[in-house]
C-alpha cells in the first residue's frame, strides 16, 4: 500500500493553449497535481506551451519547460530529465493524446518511462469508438445504435439504414470539434467530411440521435485496489443534443428518482471498473424521460471540465486525488482535505444546489452561428451555489455579467410578438432560457414549454416560480416579508428596485443581510474548517465560526481580491494568474486574503488559494455582501481584468477603499478626454481623434485626420466593433452600419498610424517604475494586441526609441499616480513614439513577462500596493536587464468551434489563448511558436492562395516573391493575379467565385496556406470571408496579415534547414550567457 516505491521524478504534461473545450480547468488540475506530487517529495518536470498558466510558474514545478507540445520536443525533454513517471490524465485531451503518441512512437518504452494512473490499454478502450463499443457490449451496458466509419461511403450506408437525425462524433477530438447533429443529407455530408478530417485517426462515430433524452453525468474515481466512488452527478437542464459544455448544468441531479440515480451510478462504476481507470473519470448518460432506458454516451478517462466543475461544486479535489492515486495511493489512504478527519474514500453530500451556465462569445461575434449542438462553443462558464435551485439559478444568471441580471425584463425578448416567441421556443441557442422565461411571463403553459424545449417540467416550473414571484412583487406592496422572500429566491436589490420603481436605498430599512454558508462535502455531518462560502438569506451565518477558528494567526487585516469571472475572449486565464498570485502575495505580507469569483474552472476558486473563498457573482451587490461581512482594509481591483475594474467606481461610491492605483487615476486613463489632455500636457504624441455624430461630420473629420483611420462606436469597450478604413466608401459603409445600430452615441474616429506596435508592462510605486521588458508586435498596428504575435525582447527598436518608451512610461505612471501594475501600448512610426493605450491594471502579458524575465510582477505589485518601495525589492527600477532568452508569443484561435466567424485579424480580439516559443535564437523561438500554435511543418509544398486588397498589394510583393522562392506555387484571385503578372511573378489565376473548386482543393489538402487581406465590410457574403471560413474549416493556415505570413515563411525556412530544436527550462534560458551558448555550440 501507499506510494509506488522509487518514484522520484514525474513529468506532467499540460493542456497547451486555451481553446474552446480546453480552458483554465486544466491549469487548475495541473497545479493541484504538481502540489500533490511535491507533497510527496517527488520532483516535478512540467511541460506546457501555455505561458499564461499558473502551473508553468517556477514555484509550482521543479523544472518548467514552456515548449511546444510535440512528441519530438517531449522526447528531448525526457532524454534530458529522465523522469520515472508520466502523468498525462490531467492535461486534457491534449495530454492524453500526447501520451498515446509517445507510447506509439516507442518513446515511453525507450526511456523506461512509466505512464502513471490509467494505462495505455484503458485509455485506448475508452477513446477508441470501436473498442469502447465492444467493451460496452461485453459488459452489457447499452450504447446507442452507431457505427464507426473511416470513410464517407460507410457513413452513407449507415444513414440509409438508420435515417436522420444522426450524430457525428469524431474520435480523439476535444470539445467534439468537427461533429454535429445532421438533420439531412447536406448537413450529414459536411459533418462527415470535417469530422473525418479533424479526427487524428480519421475515424468518426455516426450514431442514432437520441436527442430529447435527459443528459446526466457522473464523476467517478477508482483506485488500483478497485475501490470506486462517485464524486457527484450532474444533470443537464438541456436535453441530449447540446454539448454538455454548452448546457446549463445542475448538481446534483434534480429530477432523477433514487432508483434512476443509482442505476446510472452503478453503471458508471461498472464501466470504470471494466476500463480499469485509475483516477478520475467522467461518464455521460442519456436517460429516457418515460422509461428506465438509458444509454452510455461517452467516457472521458481523465480529468475534465466536468471534473473541475464537480470539484468546485462539492469541495472534492478530483485532480489532487487522481494524482495521489496515480502514484499508488488508495482512496482510503488519502485524507479528505475539507474535514481533515475523514478520507477521500467517500461520496460528497450536498446541502445546496449548484448551477453552471456557459459563457458564449456571441456578444463579440455578432455574425456567429448561435445554435448549440454537439460542438462546444462556450469559452468559459460560471457557477453559482444556492440553498435552493431558484436561488442558485438566479445567481448564475447574474454571474454572466451581462447588462441585464434577471430572467425577464430584457428588451430583446419583451419586444418579440407572441406567435414568434412560441415559434422561437424550439430554437436551441444561448438565449433559450430567456425566451422560456418570457413565454412563462406571457402565460404559456409550462407543460407546453417543456414539450417544445425538452427541458424537464421541473426546471420550467422552477423558472415559473421565479417569474411569478417577480409579478407578485410588482403587484403587491413591498413588505419586509416579501422582500425577504425575494432575497431568498435570489432577486438583486437592483431588480426589486426596478420592479417597484424605487431606489435601492429604500431596502436598507429592512436591515436584511446576506448570510454565508460553508461548502463542506458532507452536508454538515462533520465539522469542516473549509474557508469556502456561498451566500444565502434568512439563514444563520457560519462565517464567524470559521473566522474564530482561523484567527490564531496574526493578521494585519483582510484584503479582498476580485477575480475575473468567466473566461471570455479578451479576458482569459491571465487574470486568474494575477488574482491567484496577488492572493498569495497578500498572505505573504501578513494579511488575510479574501477571494471573490464566479468561475469554477480556475485555480483562484480552489478553496486553498485564498484565506477565504466566496463563490459569488461578480455583481456589485454580491461583492458588497462579502465586503460588509469581511470589513476589509480595501479591495484590489487591478488583477481581475475588466470585470474587477468595472466594479471599482461602484465600490468606491459605497465607501470601499480601492487599494493601489486610485479610482481617480483609473478614470483619468479610462476617460478618453481626460487622458488626451494628460498626454498633451506631458507632450507625448498620440493619434489624433474625433467623435462624430453624422456621416458628414465623419467625412469632415477624415479630411483633417487623413486616411487611414480607425473607427469604433463609443458605447462599446474592449475593441468591439473597431475597424480600420482606408477611404470614403469604406468609411460611409461603416458609419451607416454603426448609426443603424444606435444613432445616439458618437462614432470615434482616430488617425490610424500603420507603424510598429510596441507594448510594455510596468509596476509603479508612485515614485519609481520597474519595466520588466518591452515587446514588439510582429503584425503592424491595427491588429488587437491579444491577437498579434509578439517578440520579447524587441528586435526593431533603436536604443533611443527604447529610452523614449521608458521615459513615457515613467511620466505617465507618475502623472496618473499609478500604484501597482500598468500596461502601455505604443506605435512607432518614422521615429515618433505615439501612446495609443494605457491600462491601469494587470494585462494579458503579465504572466508571460513574469516568466521570461523572472520578475514576479503580480507579487511585486502587491508589495508596492501594501507600501513596499520598488527599490527595496531587489529588481531595481527602470528597464530590467535583458537575458539571452528570446520568446515569441503566438495567439491561438478557436474558429473551428464557432461557425460563421470571420477569422481575419482586426482591432477586435478573437483569440482564445496563446503559446510561447522560447529559445536563445530568434529563428528557433519563432519556429517553436508556430509548432506550439499547431502549425504543421514538413509537408509537401503545394499551392498557396493569395488574394489581396488594394492597400496591401504592394507591401506584399516581397513576401510573395519569398513564397515563390521557397518553393510554393502561387494561385491568385483576379486582381492579385494581374498585379503579380505586372510585377513578374507567375501565378495561376482563380476566380473568387469558384468557391466550390477551392473548397474541394482544401478538402483534399491540396493547398498549403491562404494569404488573404480582407476588404472592408462585415458582410458574410464576401468571397474573402467565405475563403477564410472554409480554410478554417479544413484547418488550412489562413493569414490575413502579410506580417504573419512573413513570419510563417521565416519559420518554414528555419524548419527546412533542418535545424535541431533543443529544449530547456525557462530559468535556464534566462541564465544562459551568450558565451556559454557559443561554447556549447562549438563543443
Amino acid at each position: 500500500m501507499g506510494k509506488i516505491q522509487g518514484l522520484k521524478k514525474v513529468m506532467v504534461i499540460g493542456s497547451g493553449p486555451i481553446v474552446i473545450g480546453q480552458a483554465a480547468e486544466f491549469d487548475y488540475a495541473g497545479v493541484q497535481a504538481c502540489r500533490a506530487l511535491k507533497e510527496e517529495n517527488i520532483k516535478v518536470v512540467l511541460v506546457n506551451s501555455n505561458p499564461a498558466t499558473i502551473m508553468t510558474d517556477e514555484n509550482i514545478a521543479d523544472k518548467v519547460y514552456i515548449e511546444p507540445l510535440d512528441i519530438n520536443i517531449l522526447e528531448d525533454i525526457i532524454r534530458k530529465e529522465r523522469p520515472d513517471g508520466l502523468i498525462a490524465s490531467l492535461g486534457g485531451q491534449t495530454g492524453l493524446n500526447l501520451a498515446m503518441e509517445l507510447h506509439r512512437a516507442g518513446i515511453l518504452e525507450k526511456y523506461n518511462l512509466k505512464l502513471l494512473g490509467t494505462n495505455i490499454e484503458s485509455i485506448n478502450k475508452a477513446e477508441d469508438r470501436e473498442l469502447f463499443k465492444n467493451l460496452m457490449n461485453e459488459i452489457g451496458e447499452p450504447v446507442p445504435e452507431s457505427e464507426i466509419v473511416s470513410d464517407y461511403e460507410g457513413a452513407k450506408k449507415f444513414a440509409e439504414r438508420i435515417g436522420f437525425p444522426i450524430i457525428i462524433r469524431p474520435a480523439f477530438t476535444l470539445g467534439g470539434s468537427g461533429g454535429g447533429i445532421a438533420k439531412n443529407e447536406a448537413e450529414y455530408d459536411q459533418y462527415v467530411t470535417t469530422g473525418l478530417q479533424q479526427s487524428p485517426i480519421n475515424q468518426i462515430l455516426v450514431e442514432k440521435s437520441i436527442a430529447g433524452f435527459k443528459e446526466v453525468e457522473y464523476e467517478v474515481m477508482r483506485d488500483a485496489n478497485d475501490s470506486c466512488i462517485t464524486v457527484c452527478n450532474m444533470e443537464n437542464i438541456d436535453p441530449i443534443g447540446i454539448h454538455t459544455g454548452d448546457s446549463i448544468v445542475v448538481a446534483p441531479s434534480q429530477t432523477l428518482t433514487n432508483n434512476e440515480y443509482q442505476m446510472l451510478r452503478t453503471s458508471a462504476i461498472k464501466i470504470i471498473r471494466a476500463l480499469k481507470i485509475e483516477g478520475g473519470c467522467n461518464v455521460q448518460f442519456a436517460l429516457d424521460t418515460k422509461s428506465n432506458q438509458y444509454y452510455v454516451i461517452e467516457v472521458n478517462p481523465r480529468v475534465s471540465r466536468s471534473s473541475a466543475l464537480a470539484s468546485k461544486a462539492t469541495g472534492y479535489p478530483i485532480a489532487k486525488v487522481t494524482t495521489k492515486i496515480a502514484i499508488g495511493y488508495k482512496l482510503n489512504e488519502i485524507q479528505n482535505a475539507i474535514t481533515k478527519k475523514t478520507v477521500a474514500a467517500f461520496e460528497p453530500s450536498l446541502d445546496y444546489v449548484v448551477v453552471k451556465i456557459p459563457k458564449w462569445p456571441f456578444d463579440k461575434f455578432a455574425t456567429g452561428d448561435r445554435i448549440l449542438g454537439t460542438k462546444m462553443k462556450a469559452t468559459g462558464e460560471i457557477m453559482a451555489i444556492g440553498r435552493t435551485f431558484n436561488n442558485a439559478f438566479k445567481k448564475a444568471i447574474a454571474s454572466l455579467e451581462e447588462k441585464y441580471t434577471g430572467l425577464t425584463m430584457r428588451p430583446e425578448f419583451e419586444s418579440i410578438g407572441y406567435d414568434e416567441l412560441i415559434e422561437a421556443l424550439s430554437i436551441q441557442d444561448d438565449r433559450r432560457i430567456f425566451r422560456v422565461s418570457e413565454a412563462i411571463k406571457r402565460g404559456v403553459e409550462p407543460h407546453k414549454i417543456s414539450d417544445i424545449t425538452k427541458i424537464d417540467y421541473w426546471f420550467i416550473s422552477k423558472i415559473k416560480e421565479i417569474v411569478d414571484f417577480e409579478k407578485f412583487i410588482s403587484q403587491n406592496e413591498l413588505t419586509e416579508e416579501i422582500y425577504k422572500k425575494a432575497k431568498e429566491m435570489g432577486f438583486l436589490d437592483s431588480e426589486i428596485a426596478k420592479i417597484k420603481g424605487v431606489d435601492e436605498k429604500e431596502f436598507e430599512k429592512y436591515n436584511v443581510e446576506a448570510s454565508f454558508r460553508i461548502v463542506d462535502t458532507c452536508a454538515a455531518e462533520f465539522a469542516a474548517m473549509t474557508p469556502y462560502f456561498y451566500s444565502t438569506y434568512n439563514e444563520e451565518c457560519e462565517l464567524d465560526k470559521i473566522k474564530e477558528r482561523n484567527f490564531n494567526k496574526k493578521s494585519k487585516g483582510n484584503i479582498v481580491v476580485l477575480g475575473s469571472g468567466p473566461i471570455r475572449i479578451g479576458q482569459g486565464i491571465e487574470f486568474d494568474y494575477c488574482s491567484v498570485h496577488s492572493s498569495w502575495a497578500i498572505a505573504e505580507n501578513g494579511y488575510e486574503s479574501v477571494m471573490i469569483n464566479s468561475n469554477p474552472e480556475t485555480l483562484s476558486t480552489d478553496f486553498d488559494i485564498a484565506d477565504r473563498l466566496y463563490f459569488e457573482p461578480m455583481n456589485i451587490e454580491n461583492v458588497m455582501n462579502v465586503i460588509k461581512k469581511e470589513k476589509p482594509l480595501g479591495v484590489m481591483v487591478q488583477f481581475g481584468g475588466q470585470t474587477a475594474i468595472n466594479l471599482a467606481s461602484k465600490l468606491s461610491e459605497r465607501g470601499v477603499k480601492i487599494l493601489g492605483t486610485s479610482l481617480e487615476s483609473i478614470n483619468a486613463v479610462e476617460d478618453r478626454k481626460v487622458f488626451e489632455k494628460l498626454l498633451r500636457d506631458l507632450k507625448i504624441p498620440q493619434p489624433k481623434g474625433r467623435g462624430v455624430k453624422s456621416a458628414q461630420e465623419a467625412l469632415d473629420a477624415t479630411k483633417e485626420l487623413g486616411y487611414p483611420v480607425l473607427v469604433r462606436p463609443s458605447y462599446v469597450i474592449g475593441g468591439r466593433g473597431m475597424q480600420v478604413v482606408y477611404n470614403d466608401d469604406e468609411l460611409l459603409t461603416y458609419i451607416n452600419e454603426a448609426f443603424k445600430f444606435s444613432s445616439k452615441h458618437p462614432v470615434l474616429i482616430d488617425q490610424y498610424i500603420e507603424g510598429q506596435e510596441v507594448e510594455l508592462d510596468a509596476i509603479s510605486d508612485g515614485k519609481d517604475v520597474l519595466i520588466p521588458g518591452i515587446c514588439e508586435h510582429i503584425e503592424r498596428a491595427g491588429v488587437h494586441s491579444g491577437d498579434s504575435m509578439s517578440i520579447y525582447p524587441t528586435r526593431n527598436i533603436t536604443s533611443k526609441q527604447e529610452k523614449t518608451l521608458v521615459k513615457y512610461a515613467k511620466e505617465i505612471a507618475k502623472k496618473t499616480n499609478i500604484v501597482g501594475l500598468m500596461n502601455i501600448q505604443f506605435i512607432i512610426k518614422d521615429d515618433v513614439v505615439y501612446v495609443i493605450e494605457v491600462n491601469p491594471r494587470a494585462s494579458r502579458t503579465v504572466p508571460i513577462m513574469s516568466k521570461v524575465t523572472g520578475i514576479p510582477m503580480a507579487k511585486i505589485a502587491v508589495n508596492v500596493i501594501l507600501g513596499k518601495s520598488l527599490k527595496s525589492q531587489g529588481f531595481g527600477v527602470g528597464l530590467y536587464k535583458k537575458s539571452n532568452l528570446i520568446c515569441v508569443k503566438m495567439p491561438v484561435f478557436s474558429f473551428q468551434k464557432l461557425n460563421r466567424i470571420d477569422p481575419a485579424l482586426a482591432p477586435e480580439m478573437k483569440s482564445t489563448g496563446e503559446v510561447l516559443g522560447i529559445d536563445t535564437d530568434y529563428k528557433k523561438a519563432l519556429l517553436k511558436a508556430f509548432i506550439a500554435g499547431g502549425y504543421k511543418f514538413g509537408g509537401r509544398k503545394q499551392r498557396v492562395l493569395v488574394s489581396l486588397n488594394d492597400h496591401y498589394k504592394k507591401p506584399a510583393l516581397k513576401i510573395i516573391k519569398k513564397m515563390f522562392g521557397q518553393g510554393y506555387f502561387i494561385m491568385a484571385t483576379w486582381g492579385t493575379h494581374k498585379f503579380l503578372e505586372k510585377n513578374g511573378i507567375p501565378s495561376k489565376m482563380i476566380e473568387k467565385f469558384m468557391i466550390d473548386k477551392l473548397q474541394k482543393r482544401m478538402k483534399e489538402g491540396r493547398l498549403s496556406f491562404v494569404l488573404n487581406t480582407p476588404t472592408l465590410g462585415k458582410n458574410s457574403q464576401t468571397s474573402g470571408f467565405q475563403i477564410r471560413t472554409i480554410a478554417e474549416m479544413y484547418c488550412i493556415p489562413c493569414f490575413t496579415s502579410i506580417d504573419t505570413a512573413r513570419a510563417y515563411l521565416s519559420a518554414v525556412k528555419t524548419y527546412d534547414k533542418k535545424v535541431r530544436l533543443t529544449t530547456d527550462t525557462v530559468s535556464n534560458y534566462r541564465k544562459k550567457h551568450f558565451f556559454d551558448f557559443l561554447f556549447n555550440k562549438t563543443k
Binding site: M1, N225, D226, S227, C228, I229, T230, P252, S253, Q254, T255, L256, T257, N258, N259, Y261, Q262, R265, T266, I269, T289, K290, S291, K330, L331, N332, T342, V343, A345, F346, E347, P348, S349, L350, D351, Y352, V353, R387, T388, F389, P446, D456, Y457, W458, S461, K464, R517, C522, A523, A524, E525, F526, A527, N538, E539, E540
Partner: protein, 373 residues
C-alpha cells in the same frame, strides 16, 4: 400555514406546513441522502422519528407506486428546506405533501435545515415536537418543552412495526429462508427473493421453536427501529437460535446478533443516516459506499472471541460488520439492499445467498440441541 418545530433544548424553528396537521413528539434525526425521500419515509426503522433532510430540494419527482420500503410510513414527521409543489416524473402519482397528508405525517418546510443539522451534530439527537398548532405565547412553548422532556420513547416499537401475520415471498425459491421482521425494508426481502430465496417473513414475536420446527435452512434478521438493548424478547429468541441455524443480519438484526453473542451496543451521538458512508472490507481493503440508517453501534471492544470484525466505517471508525464462520453468522450494520443509496454492497447478498445455497444441504438442529458457544 405556519408549523413549528420545538427541540428538547428549547430551540424553536418556525416554518411552513405541508402534509398532515397535528402534533407529534419523537426523536429528531438527520439524513444526508440527496435522493430517495420516498424510501426514507417508508423505512420502518424511522418509526417514532422526525427526519430532517439535509438536501434542500425534496419531493422533486413526487411519490410513485414502486419505491415504497413498507406499506405505511412509520416516521412522524419530515423537515425540509423546500418541499416541491410541482413535481415532475412520469411515474409520479402524487406530491410529497399529499402523501404525507394521507399518511398522517407532519411536514415542515422553509426551515434552516443546515443550522438544524449542525445543532443535532453538536448536541446529539434529541427529542422534539412538530406541530401545526398556532403557538402564540411563551407559556405555551414552555409547556410544550416540558411535554417533550417527559416523553418516553416506546420500548416496544419493534412490535408496532412488524408484520402481524407470517407470509411467504417467492414461494418457489430454492433457498428456504426465514426472516424475522423487526420492521424490515421491502428492499431486503426483494434482494433475497431475487437471488432465489423463498422468504418466510415472521413477526418479531416469533419464538425460536417455531422457526426451527418449520425446517428453514437459514435465518435472516431484518433491520428495525429503536434501541437494540430494549429488545429483550427478540434477543432471547436469537440467543436460542445461534448455532442451530445459519443466521444473517442487517442493521438491528446485526445489533441483536451482537448482543446475543455477548457484545454491547452504544448510542451514537447523531447516528449514521445517509447514502454516502464509506465502509472498508477488512479482508480485501476494498471500500464500498453504503446506505446507512442507525443510531446505535456495536462496541468492538466488547466482541467475544468468536466474532470477527469484517467491516469498518472510514468516517468515524465504528464497527460495521462481523462474522463467525464457526457459528455460520454473518451480519452487517449498513444496508446492502440500498433503497435509497448506492448499490455497491449488493455483493453481500450475492455472497450470503451463495452461502445459503451451501447450507441448504445441512440438517437443521432441534430447539433443545446444545450448542457450545
Amino acid at each position: 400555514m405556519l408549523a413549528t418545530l420545538i427541540l428538547e433544548d428549547g430551540t424553536v424553528y418556525k416554518g411552513e406546513h405541508f402534509g398532515a396537521f397535528g402534533t407529534k413528539i419523537g426523536e429528531i434525526v438527520f439524513n444526508t441522502s440527496m435522493t430517495g425521500y420516498q424510501e426514507i419515509l417508508t423505512d420502518p426503522s424511522y418509526a417514532n422519528q422526525i427526519i430532517v433532510m439535509t438536501y434542500p430540494e425534496i419531493g422533486n419527482y413526487g411519490i410513485n407506486e414502486e419505491d415504497f420500503e413498507s406499506i405505511n410510513p412509520k416516521c412522524l414527521g419530515m423537515i425540509v428546506k423546500n418541499a416541491c409543489k410541482n413535481d415532475s416524473h412520469y411515474k409520479s402519482k402524487e406530491t410529497i405533501s399529499k402523501y404525507l397528508e394521507r399518511n398522517g405525517i407532519i411536514g415542515i418546510e422553509g426551515i434552516d435545515t443546515r443550522s438544524l443539522t449542525i445543532k443535532i451534530r453538536e448536541k446529539g439527537v434529541m427529542k422534539c415536537m412538530v406541530t401545526t398548532d398556532a403557538i402564540f405565547t411563551e407559556d405555551d412553548i414552555t409547556q410544550r418543552i416540558a411535554a417533550i422532556c417527559v416523553h418516553k420513547a416506546d420500548k416496544d416499537i419493534v412490535f408496532k412495526v412488524t408484520t402481524n401475520e407470517p407470509y411467504v415471498v417467492n414461494p418457489n425459491g430454492e433457498i428456504d429462508l426465514a426472516l424475522i421482521d423487526y420492521g424490515t425494508k421491502q428492499g431486503i426481502v426483494n434482494s433475497l427473493a431475487e437471488r432465489g430465496c423463498k422468504v418466510t417473513v415472521y413477526p418479531a414475536g416469533i419464538d425460536s421453536k417455531t422457526i426451527l420446527e418449520n425446517g428453514h435452512k437459514c435465518l435472516f434478521l431484518s433491520n428495525g427501529p429503536g434501541d437494540p438493548a430494549d429488545c429483550e424478547f427478540e434477543i432471547k429468541t436469537v440467543e436460542e437460535l445461534i448455532g442451530k441455524i445459519p443466521i444473517f443480519g442487517i442493521c438491528l438484526g446485526y445489533q441483536l446478533l451482537s448482543i446475543a453473542l455477548g457484545a454491547k451496543t452504544y448510542k451514537l451521538k447523531y447516528g449514521h443516516r445517509g447514502g454516502n458512508h464509506p465502509v472498508i472490507n477488512l479482508q480485501t481493503g476494498k471500500v464500498m459506499v453504503t446506505s446507512q440508517n442507525h443510531g446505535y453501534a456495536v462496541d468492538r471492544n466488547t466482541l467475544s472471541g468468536i466474532m470477527l470484525e469484517t467491516y469498518k466505517n472510514l468516517d468515524d471508525d465504528t464497527m460495521e460488520g462481523f462474522s463467525s464462520e464457526r457459528l455460520k453468522i454473518y451480519a452487517v450494520q449498513f444496508h446492502p439492499e440500498a433503497k435509497p443509496g448506492p448499490t455497491d454492497a449488493s455483493v453481500i447478498f450475492d455472497e450470503w445467498t451463495a452461502l445459503m445455497k451451501e447450507y441448504q444441504a445441512y440438517p437443521v438442529r432441534k430447539a433443545d440441541d446444545m450448542v457450545n458457544v
